[in-house]
Symmetry: C2
Subunit: 562 residues, 2 copies
C-alpha cells in the first residue's frame, strides 16, 4: 500500500496534469529517445502564429500588446499552450491557472478597447513565477508534500486563498498576466530541481541534464519558450544556474532591490546571506522591462527590505557612453573586464573554458581591456557564507519534511546530518567575518583602478557560473562559482555564450585535477552526454549595480551574437 | 590596596587630564554649587574671540575657514580650549589629542596659503568623535578598563597604532580637524554615560542630570560648545538622547547611509537591529554639511554596508517646494505631521508634553496639517527588537569586563542576569517577526494618505525621544520612545524645543499612572531638579529619508525659533 505522502503527491501531480486542456495533451517520449525537445520538436504541436508569439522576447511582446496590435488573450493563450507542452516534456510546473490568466487577459483587452491605452508597461505580458510566490486561489507547495492543502504548512485561514505576494500585486498593477507557477527542488537548496510531487525537471535542450535549480522550472519553461520572462530567487545561484543551463539571460540583483515581501521561503529570517528575487528571460531588454516596471511601483513603500532606489538611467548611460553600439565607430572609450576562469578550487570543464575564450577574444577584438582577476581567495568567502545555511541546524527544513513523512531527495539529504544550531555569538562572529571578507574584496576591486588604464576599476568580472554547462542528475557537487556572488551581495547577469560541441569540447586528458572534489567534476564531463547543451557565463558587478550590469550584459550578448 | 583595574583606570583618568595644558586647567565646583556651567559660566575662562569662534555653527565656521578668513589653527585652538574646560566640568572626554589637531590645522592653513583654496568642504572644521572611532596614535577604550593598552581587547600589532576607521579617513580627506574622542558608557548600552575610567558624564545645562548616552560625551561637549559637530552612534537612541538632553540637533540616519567600517562596537555582528553612525551638532545645516561631505567621498566604495545613495537634492526640494521659508508668502502647500505624544506604555512628563504642544501649535499656526498618529502598538516592536540585544546572552560584554575584572555600572548590570544565547532558529524567528512588524507599520503609514488632505501620507511624526527632558542618574528606566525608531530603521532628527521652567512645568497631580513602570518615570519628574533642562523632540521619517527629514527639522527648528 502506498504511504500517505505518496498518495498525496500523486494526487497533486495528477491535478497539475489535469489542469492542462485535453487538446494540449501530448505523448512524452522517453528522454533518451528525444534528448532535445526545443525548436523543431516542440514546433510540431504549435501553429506558426503560436510559434511567432512565443518566440518573441518580452520587450517585443509589450510593443505589440501595449499598442493594441496583439491582444493579451491571444498572447496568453499561446504561452499557456506552449507552457502546457513544456510541462509534459520537462516537469517544469507546480501550478497551472490558465483560465484565470485568460480572464485577466480578456479584461486587459477590454481595458485597452475602452481607454485606448494599456494598463501599464507590462500590459498583456505573460509572466511565470517560481513556486514561492503566493497567487490568489493558487496553492504554494514549494515542492513539499507537507504543504499541500495548507498555507506554508499551517492551517489555511479565510485570508489564505486571497493572499498575494507583494510583487504579484505590483506585476498585476503593471498589466502582467500570471498563468503558472514553476517547479523548485524541495528546500530550494539545490542546483537541480527535484521533489516528490513532480519528480525531476529536465533540461529541454538536452534531457540527459538538469534544468538547474532552484528556479529550475523557470529555466526549463522559458528555455522551451513556454514563458517570455519569469521570476526566480537566488541565495546560492538559483536564478543564474537555471538561466545559464537553459541559454537564457538572468539577473541576480543585490539584496533590497526587488520586493520579496509575502513570499514563501526556506529558512526564512536567516539574514546573513539573503535570498533575492529577480527575473530570467530570453532577452536583457526583457529583464530590464520587468525590473523598471516594478521599480515604478515604488516597492520600497510596500516591502520593508526594499531600498528606495528608482531605476537609474545614469548608470546605464555610463556604459553606453563608453561603448556606443557594437561595431559603432562611436565607441569612445573602453570597458575593462576582469577574467576569472578558475577559482582554483574546482576548475571549469572544457566547454566552459571555451565560452570564456569566446567572450574574452571578442571583447579584446572590440578594443576593450581584459585583465586577469586575482581576488582574495574564494575559499574563505564560500566556507563562511555557507555557514548561514546551517545556522538553524536544518530545523526549518526537517520540520517541513516531518509534516508529511516524505523523504529528502539525495540532492538535499545533507540536511539529515545537520543538528546543532549556531548560537547568537557564533552567528555574530560569522557576520563580522563576512563583513571583513566583503571589505577585502572591495579593496581588491578598488585596487584594479591602477591596472585597467581606463581610469576606473574593473567594470565587470567574466566568470563561469558553474564548472559545467549543466549538471548531470545527482552530480552537482560544487557551487562555488555561483555562491560567492551571493555571499558578497554582488550584482550578476548570466549571458548565454555557446553550445557544447562534442567534436570541439573534448575531454582534456592532460588535466591534472586539484583534488578529489575537482576530479569529481572533471570526471563528470562527457562530450557525448553534454553535446548540444547550453554554455553560459556570468558578468559580475559590484553591489546594487543592476542598471550597469544589464547594460554590459546586453552589450556583451550582442557582441557575441546572442 | 586598590585593585589592579582601579589602578589602571585611575592612571588612564589622570592621563586624560594631563593631556590638558596647564594654562587651561580650572577648578570644577561641586555640581550642586554650580548646576549650569554653560553660557556665562564657561565664558569666564574664554576670550571674546574664543567665544565668538566656538559659538559659531559648523556651517558658518566653514564659510570662514574655506575662504581663508579664519585660520584652521585659530579655530582649532579655540575648540581645544573649550573642550578642555568642558571635560573638567562634565567628564566628557576619553581621548585628547590637541597637538595632533594643531599640526593638522597648521598643515591645512599651509595648504590654503599655497593653493588659495580649501582641501575640502570641511577644511579647518574641528569634529569630535565618540570613542568607538579608531584614530591614528590614539587609544580606543570605549570606557572599558580591559581595553586600556590593547586594540579592542586584543594585543596590539604593528598596525594597531596607525589604524583608522573608514570615516576618519574620509573626514580627514574632506579637511576636518579631529581633536578629541568623547565618553561613552561601557557596553554602549545605556542612555547615561558612565564607566570606571572617567566616571559619570554630567549634563552641562543642569548638573543634576545625565548628559545622555551612549554618545553622552558628544552631547556634553557640544552642549558646552567644546565642539561644533561630532559623530555618535545609535542602536536604541544613542545619538538622539544626548542631542536632545543637551539642546542639540542630531540625526539617526537609517542603516547603510554612513560608514561604520572599522569602528569598535559592542556585540559586533548582531545584524537584526544595526547600530548606525551619525552627527549631532548645533545646527541642522552643520549636520547636512558633514553628511554631504562624507557622501561626496563615495563611502559605498569603502564600506560594504553602505548603500550607493549620493545626497539627493530632490528630497530636500520636495520639502522646500511645499513650505517655502518660514513666514514666506511663498508657502504653496502643506506638510502633514502625525503627532504621537504618548506611546501608551509610559507617558511623557509635563515639560515634554509642553514641548509637543509648542511644536504642534506653531505648525498649525503656519497652516500645516497635524493629525493624531495611531500606529500599530509599539509594545511588540520594542519587545521583539530588544531581543537582538540579548542574542549572545551577554557573552560579548561579559568577556570584556572579565579582561580587567572591573564591575559593571548599575546602568548596565542587567547583563549579569543574561546567560542563555539565542539559537539560529530563534534569531531567524525574531527576524521574521521584525519584518512583519515593519510591514505593518509601513502599511499604517501608507494608509494615512487618506487623512492628510495633502495627497501624501504623513511627512513626519512629532514624538518625544524620551519621557523626560533628561535622565536623572540611575533613573533611565524606559527607552521605548527612542528604540522603536531603531527597530524599524527609520530616519529621525532631534530638534531642541524649549527648557524646563519649574514655574510652568508643574507635576500633574491628577495623572493616573498606567502601571508601575509608568509610575516610576512619573515619580522621577521634579520641577526643582529639572529646572532649566533642555527639552527636545524628534521628527521621525521613513527609512532612508535623511535629506527630507533634515529639511523638515530645519524648517520646524526655525519655526519655533531654535
Amino acid at each position: 500500500m502506498p504511504k500517505e505522502w505518496e498518495t498525496l503527491a500523486k494526487k497533486k501531480r495528477e491535478a497539475i496534469l489535469e489542469a492542462i486542456p485535453q487538446e494540449w495533451r501530448i505523448n512524452n517520449p522517453p528522454n533518451d529517445q528525444q534528448l532535445d525537445v526545443t525548436g523543431a520538436y516542440i514546433h510540431q504541436y504549435l501553429t506558426p502564429r503560436e510559434v511567432e508569439i512565443t518566440e518573441t522576447t518580452a520587450d517585443d511582446i509589450v510593443k505589440q500588446t501595449t499598442t493594441g496590435r496583439w491582444s493579451a488573450e491571444e498572447v496568453t493563450r499561446a504561452f499557456c499552450h506552449r507552457a502546457a507542452l513544456a510541462h509534459q516534456l520537462t516537469n517544469c510546473l507546480h501550478e497551472i491557472f490558465f483560465s484565470a490568466a485568460l480572464t485577466t487577459a480578456k479584461s486587459l483587452d477590454a481595458h485597452y478597447a475602452q481607454h485606448n491605452k494599456p494598463l501599464g508597461p507590462l500590459h498583456g505580458l505573460p509572466i511565470s513565477l517560481k513556486d514561492q510566490f503566493h497567487v490568489r486561489d493558487v496553492e504554494t507547495t514549494m515542492g513539499y508534500v507537507g504543504w499541500i492543502g495548507t498555507f506554508e504548512g499551517r492551517e489555511r485561514t479565510a485570508k489564505s486563498p486571497i493572499f498575494e505576494s507583494e510583487m504579484v500585486r505590483e506585476l498585476r498593477d503593471a498589466g502582467a498576466v500570471l498563468f503558472c507557477k514553476t517547479a523548485v527542488p524541495h528546500t530550494l537548496m539545490s542546483g537541480e530541481t527535484v521533489n516528490n510531487i513532480i519528480g525531476y525537471t529536465w533540461n529541454p535542450r538536452n534531457r540527459n541534464l538538469s534544468a538547474g535549480g532552484s528556479s529550475g522550472g523557470e529555466g526549463a519553461l522559458i528555455g522551451l519558450r513556454g514563458s517570455p520572462v519569469g521570476f526566480g530567487t537566488d541565495i546560492g545561484g538559483s536564478i543564474r544556474i537555471p538561466a545559464g543551463f537553459n541559454g537564457l539571460y538572468g539577473i541576480r540583483p543585490s539584496g533590497g532591490r526587488l520586493p520579496y515581501e509575502g513570499m514563501a521561503n526556506s529558512m526564512d529570517g536567516q539574514n546573513s546571506v539573503l535570498s533575492v528575487v529577480g527575473p530570467l528571460g530570453t532577452s536583457v531588454a526583457g529583464l530590464r522591462l520587468v525590473i523598471k516596471a516594478l521599480l515604478e511601483r515604488r516597492p520600497w513603500l510596500y516591502d520593508p527590505l526594499v531600498l528606495e532606489l528608482p531605476w537609474r538611467d545614469e548608470l546605464e548611460r555610463e556604459v553606453s557612453e563608453v561603448t556606443g553600439k557594437v561595431g559603432d565607430a562611436g565607441m569612445v572609450g573602453k570597458l575593462c573586464f576582469g577574467v576569472f576562469e578558475s577559482d582554483g578550487i574546482v576548475g571549469p570543464t572544457p566547454p566552459v573554458r571555451r565560452a570564456v575564450k569566446i567572450v574574452v577574444e571578442k571583447l579584446k577584438e572590440l578594443g576593450h581591456v581584459v585583465v586577469e582577476w586575482k581576488p582574495p581567495p574564494h575559499k574563505a568567502i564560500l566556507s563562511e557564507g555557507m555557514k548561514s545555511w546551517w545556522y538553524d541546524g536544518g530545523h526549518d527544513v526537517k520540520s517541513v519534511f516531518a509534516l508529511s513523512g516524505e523523504p529528502m531527495a539525495p540532492q538535499v539529504a545533507f540536511y539529515q546530518d545537520l543538528e546543532k544550531e549556531f548560537s547568537g555569538s557564533e552567528i555574530a562572529a560569522t557576520n563580522v567575518r563576512l563583513r571583513q571578507l566583503k571589505k577585502e574584496y572591495m579593496d581588491y576591486w578598488n585596487s584594479t583602478e591602477t591596472v585597467t588604464g581606463t581610469g576606473r576599476p574593473v567594470d565587470a568580472i567574466i566568470t563561469p557560473l558553474a564548472p559545467f554547462p549543466a549538471a548531470r542528475p545527482e552530480m552537482y557537487s560544487y557551487y562555488g562559482y555561483s555562491t560567492w556572488v551571493n555571499v558578497l551581495d554582488y550584482t550578476s547577469v548570466v549571458v548565454p555564450v555557446t553550445n557544447v560541441d562534442k567534436e570541439v569540447d573534448l575531454v582534456d586528458k592532460d588535466y591534472v585535477p586539484i583534488d578529489e572534489g575537482d576530479k569529481k567534476v572533471y570526471d563528470s564531463y562527457d562530450p557525448e552526454i553534454y553535446d548540444g547543451a547550453h554554455v553560459s557565463l556570468q558578468l559580475v558587478g559590484r553591489r546594487l549595480q543592476e542598471e550597469k550590469m544589464l547594460a554590459i550584459a546586453e552589450y556583451v550578448g550582442k557582441a557575441i551574437g546572442k
